[in-house]
Symmetry: C2
Subunit: 392 residues, 2 copies
């Protein structure tokens, strides 16, 4: 049967679909980036982002993608000659390690099997002998495995054993999962625009604690564009040190409007239910999940299929107009990943699970039509009864 080729449903874990309201906002006539209107925009966005990070400080905004924010976190926090620890639970923990390596920073690496979260106990054991590290790098949601690390408890463990800064990659978490950087003692929390914030890629964000600012001020490591200091200084004058990506800021303003109108608690609850509906559907059709219920992220779900079925299903899904992500690095060909964050709702999950049943059957798997969707719908009905159930 012929299909509407351009009616593609983006269920990958970023970039996520852009709401029409944000698309329209980004079409606003351009303004000069030193115009008072641009300054108002920068100041307002920075302040309105703070609740998403759980910080009382304004959030830094950079024209860059998420990886730049990871690198900025590294080069601002670790002195020349200093060492760092990094917890690797997947490809994005590994990216932190790669950045540390490129900058010649002595790196202590804690590798956790991919698909599992790092436990506070594992981190405590690891850090016992490494009290000299200047920073510990964590991944909040490990996008490559669909695992949500318990950042609050890991941050406590770091505080207990070291004087290190706690630095977390919040990409694919911030905006979809509650974050409380100040309360948890996360010194630097970074994210990008193309995940739960519903924007195209091109903006990177960072919250920075007062303890971190002290270290950053004293840090002699050479850096320019990714130096946090001029961003803080410019923000005090309601601007950015270098040209901001103004149309993305127009979009960010609309995204913040949408998040505030829905209410952050409701946004997080919606993500929780999308995760539950997805997991129920996958189990219902007899497929296996990579992460346990305890470790699962509300924003992305990884499904096992290391006998070639993961890629076969993903290919069939593409033919049905739904894009899913494959595995990365050591998980390449072994899993597929469903993104369910940002401008995504229960109907998208229902669509994805129903299509997965058809895709699995077309890929030759013994899946019964309706087997997954039944479980997904039951979770949905349950969700609508519980209604404003508090997010995890």
């Amino acid at each position: 049967m012929s299909m509407l080729r351009d009616k593609v449903r983006l269920q990958i874990p970023g970039p996520t679909p852009i709401p029409p309201r944000i698309q329209q906002a980004m079409l606003r006539p351009m303004v000069g980036h030193r115009d008072p209107e641009a300054s108002k925009l920068v100041a307002a966005c920075s302040q309105r982002l703070a609740p998403l990070f759980g910080t009382a400080s304004p959030v830094l905004i950079m024209a860059a993608s998420g990886t730049a924010a990871l690198e900025a976190a590294v080069i601002n926090s670790v002195q020349p000659g200093g060492s760092a620890a990094v917890v690797v639970t997947g490809a994005f923990g590994d990216r932190f390690a790669k950045i540390l390596g490129k900058h010649g920073i002595e790196t202590h690496r804690l590798d956790i099997p991919w698909g599992q979260a790092c436990t506070p106990e594992a981190l405590a054991n690891f850090l016992k002998e490494k009290p000299q590290v200047e920073a510990v790098f964590l991944t909040f949601c490990e996008t490559s495995t669909g695992v949500l690390n318990p950042i609050d408890r890991l941050a406590s463990v770091v505080r207990e054993h070291t004087d290190a800064l706690v630095i977390a990659d919040g990409v694919s978490a911030v905006g979809g999962v509650p974050a409380h950087a100040d309360e948890w003692g996360v010194d630097i929390l970074v994210t990008g625009s193309q995940k739960a914030l519903m924007l195209p890629a091109g903006l990177a964000f960072a919250s920075v604690s007062s303890q971190a600012w002290e270290r950053i001020e004293a840090n002699a490591r050479p850096r320019f564009y990714l130096d946090f200091l001029p961003y803080r200084e410019s923000l005090e004058k309601n601007t950015t040190p270098y040209t901001p990506a103004v149309s993305l800021l127009f979009g960010l303003e609309a995204a913040l409007d949408m998040l505030e109108e829905e209410g952050l608690e409701n946004v997080y609850t919606r993500h929780q239910w999308m995760m539950r509906m997805t997991r129920a559907g996958i189990r219902g059709m007899g497929l296996a999940l990579l992460a346990t219920d305890t470790d699962a992220s509300p924003t992305v779900t990884a499904v096992k299929g290391d006998d070639g079925t993961a890629e076969a299903i993903r290919k069939q899904m593409k033919a049905l107009n739904i894009r899913l992500a494959g595995g990365q690095q050591q998980l390449k060909g072994e899993i597929f990943r469903i993104g369910h964050m940002g401008y995504s709702d229960p109907l998208d999950i229902v669509t994805t699970i129903a299509a997965l049943e058809v895709a699995a059957i077309r890929a030759g798997l013994p899946v019964q039509p309706g087997s997954g969707i039944q479980a997904t719908e039951e979770e949905w009905i349950h969700a609508s009864r519980v209604d404003h159930r508090p997010a995890q």
Copy 2:
């Protein structure tokens, strides 16, 4: 659970969702309507619409909604003092009758129970005693009931019994259902832009046979904006007699690109399968269809629920972010209608049926989650195996 309030799925039988490609086309910078670029646009659209109507003649384009095209068909075809017959299978056949009445035209009305198609036999019996009528007005797809009338055979019956022009309302049919106006002997076939053509409302279209042109030329009935003659005259000079709706023409050009790229046969097959998937799902969950399989339209499906369930389900669907239509006139509160035409694909049907299960349960009906979707998916799997099955 909180919802994305603006992520509304429009499954009403028009207006239908606008593809992003068409939205973008309509944002093109405005051109003067007597500019050569506008003339090229008018000429190309008129010619490229012809295959959708099944005519060798260029199609007239008016800046107006579908009802204007119905009225134009009436006042261009029936002489002052002349009489007409109208077959009423629902609210839109009734609209033809109302227009005829407003113009004081003696009208012979054949009423068919709503939810059924008019049979050739019924029309033959009706016309036997009315050979003096100048025009017979038919409805191709009766949007209010989801019934597709057998226009080809009804047109033959008219030819057999009268010298009347055959005039058909093609709104919610043309572009989603094969039409062969020349071959079938349909003298005037009209439609609007906001249905299977994937555009906003605002354009009306008409194909006119040479026999009809003779009558129109001889017709003394007073008319100006809706007179077909100046449209034909202007079209010979690649323009329109009055200001055309240029941004809608930009959109129409993109819509024709999309329809031609998919291939009209494929477009019609897609609509056939969406109808089958919808009907299978409705039956699977134990709800009752208004029209029989023989009478069902590939573009809209009406579902019974005269005990208050139709409106209860529709209300619940609205809460789930899917808009359905209710019943009109005598069917008000007795049915709900699902549109599946234009920029709509099998995934939309899957979404709609799954949501209908949840909506029905929330409305208190004894529906089993997965019961409808299983049948819908089986039809979909069947469709993807049969692939390019010829349309009806």
